[in-house]
Amino acid sequence: MRAFSYEKAASPAEAAAAAASDRDARFIAGGTNLLDLMKLQIEAPTHLIDVNGLGLDTIAPTTDGGLRIGALVRNTALAADERVRRDYAVLSRALLAGASGQLRNRATTAGNLLQRTRCPYFYDTAQPCNKRQPGSGCSAIDGFSRQLGVVGISDTCIATHPSDMAVAMRALDATVETVKPDRSTRSIPVADLHRLPGKTPHVETVLERGELITAVTLPKPAGGTQIYRKVRDRASYAFALISVAAIVQRDGSGRIALGGVAPKPWRVEKAEAELPRGAKAATEAILAGAKPTHDNAFKLPLVERTLGAVLTQARG
């Protein structure tokens, strides 16, 4: 870990401006992923901008009946919020399926969205990794890839996005609000926040240099039966092999987003028309074009079977 200077930002806009002025600056919120990576020299900032204490830690109703979640709302607080529990159960469930009680107490909403892959080769600085060191190659494609992606991947990177929360937010059609260094703000659908790796797997989001997430807004409640099903080897405190976020309506229509299969929360809206035809048809449509490795080909039948169980459960 390189030495770094540290400042507590005074406002979101000033934080963004400070970050833009220094290529080696990073925002720090919960720190649960950034410090992990800094200790391994995977992230090596020389300046940290602490965005805790900017008042971004509240959850408030929006005028159109949705919820605006401050970027710094902790995972525990978000999962436990009464409105979230009542109206956005899939989000509460996804959060509670992730990490541990200790981590959720510090991890933030924005930090969770921006956490980086858990690909073991990304984590080992002696190994080639196009995401960590552009152009060095991908060790995972022909290596140990059991946890890694099957869809949306490229021949330079098969890493997955590890978040549970983001999968639920994708199903909920959440929107990310940001402030840029020039103080302008914008809204980005969660669907568009993360980029697919293509030839530039190190560029993970559409955020510009210095751009700070200030909130995530949820549209008005989608209703239906909301389920988050996470599949993993051990019963808790483990990243997903796959996960399914589902919002299923009485008429059989619904929304499905998947975790653990792609470089971003994976949802194919068109495929949702297949839901009434069952899990097999829906899975084929959602995972169309999947290119699994030998190690992770099981994820395809696993998604189908899990989705089948989720749909059965949702339809009572």
Partner: protein, 735 residues
């Protein structure tokens, strides 16, 4: 004291203190965080500096160059140790690979350098400035691919030899019912919670090491060899050890590098291995490929038992002795075992909790389950039909005690074994397919020479000193209980000092020999102290009864402490063993019962109930012994369901080298665990009449989980761990 005849009645038999479920005497220190581990000795020497270890980035080859200048100039850096600075180092006989690479690299993350700095942050930062260029060489990393090249293990150790009894080939070929299957177990990591850590301080040519080591005397010897200095110049202090499981049996890089760093920096230096370094830098349990062949009569009598195992290790290493239990566990006239060792360039394989039996029984006990099904027999009935009271290879050699049948019978009743459906896939609760499984637990009882010194002062305080270690096993407590029983005092009157090479050499902690052997050593020293007390008080020591803080003989009764009025009395002795372990096979036994649920859709397996019934000689402390067993059952559940060091067969290393990637069981994976000990005392084992119990619990439990999964699903997976991806292709349609 020489123990060469079966034990007769002795003061231990009173069981006033020993044998009782006392709370740990070090418990309050552990729960308040005041027990000090190796890296936490802030007050023992001033001016401690911090070391940070860099591991090799290739599996095999040579260091072409190391660029140290930038790191040397980094703030706070005091010294950098590489092979060049280290000078001429030898290798201790218990290490396979050297602890410091250069120029050759023998395995991934083999230590390449140590940076010593004023602070941990500075040492870590400077370490990132060191640039190492390697010339990588081709290596062998795939056990399956190397299997056909594997050879007979070298050396004279009889336990490594091929064995043949009767005519296995003919008996197997002619058996009416037979099984020939191959099973695999993966590389596993000890993953103890405390990383390997050492504080090293030189005073002239004398070196003190505060470290985490299970075998203090081995550490001293091997360090002396490695550095080429006299043994008496080295002191190892290891009072608390944050888990070992075999991973801290041997001298590791933290110890050597702390010592070298301290010598170069001329400051005390402390070093802890970082977690991501541990899996590849230290030892692991090697993977195995095991072929088992069983032949039986239609009635279920085994007539042929064959077990072969292939494993790999670095050049000069040894095999995982996965066949050893098969030589002893079941009767059968015709038998063979063989091990083959492939030379691999993966990190060093070595002992992990129940080396041999743990992976061996994962295979054998699954095979027994499969064979029972072929025979149409209940798996317990099949095992008991082939039970034996003698060494099957040498029928004239009996087991000292063997009550496996009672373990199964009691366990079956307690667990509700009769509720198990003989047909697979029959029990269901909601989305869960339910299955029950059993397996035999079997682990040999090893006895080791062990010494102790016990003294009595004028206050009546008894102090025990031995270099024995407590790695969570409860050594402090059972040693205290032993001394209290022998001298007739309350446990509160006993002070136990462990883990210091200044104390008499003990058995150390390994191979489940520590509890029985180290307390037997304390027993021997207490006998000496009793003689000294009796002599001082003018009492015939054979008549003396030590009880209630008094020494009684005939009508006389004197306070124990009065013997030490003129000065402390000390007894020191070492227990040594004759050939009782040769005339009699000493082993520990148990029956594991497991109930699992397998998710009908996802094939996720969760353990719902666990019971172990154990017959392991006298239980010195039922509370801590039970903890040993449940802990081993937990590790065994991990081995069955999730634990696997994933090998990158191109680059030659364990990829998932941290606690996020290498999953071990968490709270949510483990249900309430039930343990029953049969009431027994084995006079062949030691004056304590105890046997080991620390490893018995892991032996067989993985197979019990596997057999339960089969019972639930009808899917037989012979490649551990049994993860959902292996079950899915053959799972029943999820309804």
């Amino acid at each position: 004291m020489k123990f060469d005849k079966p034990a007769t009645a002795n003061p231990i038999d009173r069981l006033q203190v020993i044998g009782q479920p006392h709370d740990r005497i070090d418990g309050a220190r552990k729960v308040t965080g005041t027990a000090r581990y190796a890296y936490e000795q802030h007050d023992v020497v001033p001016n401690q500096a911090y070391g940070y270890v860099i591991g090799a980035g290739i599996a095999k080859g040579r260091i072409a160059s190391i660029e140290l200048d930038a790191a040397r100039k980094a703030p706070g850096v005091l010294a950098i140790v590489t092979a060049k600075e280290a000078g001429n180092l030898k290798k201790g006989p218990r290490n396979t690979a050297r602890l410091l690479a250069g120029p050759e690299v023998e395995h991934y993350h083999q230590a390449v350098a140590l940076v010593v700095a004023e602070s941990f942050e500075q040492a870590r930062a400077a370490a990132s400035l060191i640039k190492v260029e390697y010339a990588a060489a081709k290596g062998a990393f795939d056990l399956a691919a190397a299997k056909d090249r594997a050879t007979k293990p070298e050396g004279d150790d009889p336990s490594l030899k091929d064995t043949h009894v009767g005519d296995f080939v003919d008996a197997f070929a002619s058996a009416p019912v037979s099984l020939d299957e191959t099973y695999t177990t993966p590389d596993e990591s000890h993953a103890m919670m405390e990383p390997h850590a050492t504080l090293a301080a030189w005073e002239g040519d004398r070196l003190t090491l505060w470290t985490a080591n299970q075998m203090v005397a081995w550490g001293v010897t091997d360090m002396a060899t490695t550095l080429g200095i006299p043994k008496q110049n080295i002191r190892i202090v290891s009072p608390f050890i944050g888990g070992g499981f075999g991973g801290k049996l041997f001298l590791r890089a933290d110890v050597l590098l702390a010592a070298l760093g301290a010598r170069l920096a001329q400051r005390p230096v402390k070093v802890a291995l970082t977690r991501p370094l541990m899996a590849n830098n230290t030892t692991h349990r090697p993977a195995t490929i095991q072929r088992i062949r069983l032949g039986a009569t239609k009635e279920g009598k085994l007539t042929a038992i064959g077990h072969e195992s292939w494993s790999g290790d670095l050049k000069g290493g040894g095999p995982e002795v996965a066949v050893q239990q098969t030589r002893l566990l079941y009767a059968g006239a015709n038998r063979m075992t063989a091990m083959r060792l492939a030379e691999l360039d993966l990190p060093e394989g070595n002992a992990m909790r129940a080396p041999g039996e743990a992976p061996g029984l994962m295979a054998l006990e699954m095979a027994m389950d499969e064979m029972a099904e072929k025979l149409g027999m209940d798996p317990i009935a099949f095992r008991l039909l082939n039970d034996t009271q003698v060494d099957p290879e040498k029928p004239g050699r009996p087991f000292s005690m063997r009550r496996l049948d009672e373990c199964f019978k009691l366990g079956a009743e307690r667990f509700g074994w009769s509720r198990r459906s003989e047909r697979v896939g029959q029990m269901r609760e909601g989305n869960w397919l339910i299955g029950l499984g059993v397996a035999t637990a079997f682990r040999n009882n090893l006895v080791m020479k062990s010494g102790a010194r016990v003294s009595l002062d004028a206050e009546g305080i008894v102090t025990v000193e031995t270099d024995m270690t407590d790695i969570g096993t409860g050594s402090y407590t059972i040693i205290g209980q032993t001394a209290a029983e022998m001298l007739g005092v309350d446990l509160e009157k006993v002070v136990v000092k462990l883990g210091d090479s200044a104390f008499p050499v003990s058995a150390g902690s390994g191979g489940q020999w520590g509890g029985n052997s180290s307390t037997a050593g304390v027993y021997a020293a207490c006998v000496k102290l009793r003689e000294a007390v009796a002599q001082k008080l003018g009492i015939n020591s054979t008549e003396a009864v030590f009880a209630g803080g008094e020494v009684k003989a005939g009508n006389r009764s004197l306070p124990l402490k009065s013997a030490a009025e003129a000065g402390p009395l000390t007894g020191e002795d070492t227990i040594e063993y004759g050939d009782l372990d040769e005339t009699h096979q000493q082993s520990t036994f148990g029956a594991h019962f497991v109930e699992v649920g397998v998710d009908a859709a996802t094939a996720e397996t969760r353990v719902r109930r666990m019971l172990a019934v154990c017959a392991a000689g006298r239980i010195l402390n039922p509370k801590t012994a039970r903890s040993q067993v449940i802990g081993a059952m937990t590790m065994g559940a991990g081995a069955a369901l999730m634990e696997e060091l994933a090998v990158d067969k191109r680059r030659g290393f364990f990829v998932n080298h941290d606690l996020a990637g290498y999953e071990v069981p968490v709270h949510a994976d483990i249900p309430h665990q039930d343990v029953v000990f049969l009431d027994e005392a084995d006079p062949m084992s030691s004056p304590m009449k105890a046997k080991g119990v620390g490893e018995l619990g892991i032996c067989g439990v993985g197979a019990a989980v596997a057999n339960a999964i089969y019972n639930a699903t009808g899917v037989r997976v012979r490649n551990y761990p049994i993860t959902l991806d292996k079950l899915l292709p053959r799972m029943p349609e999820a309804a």
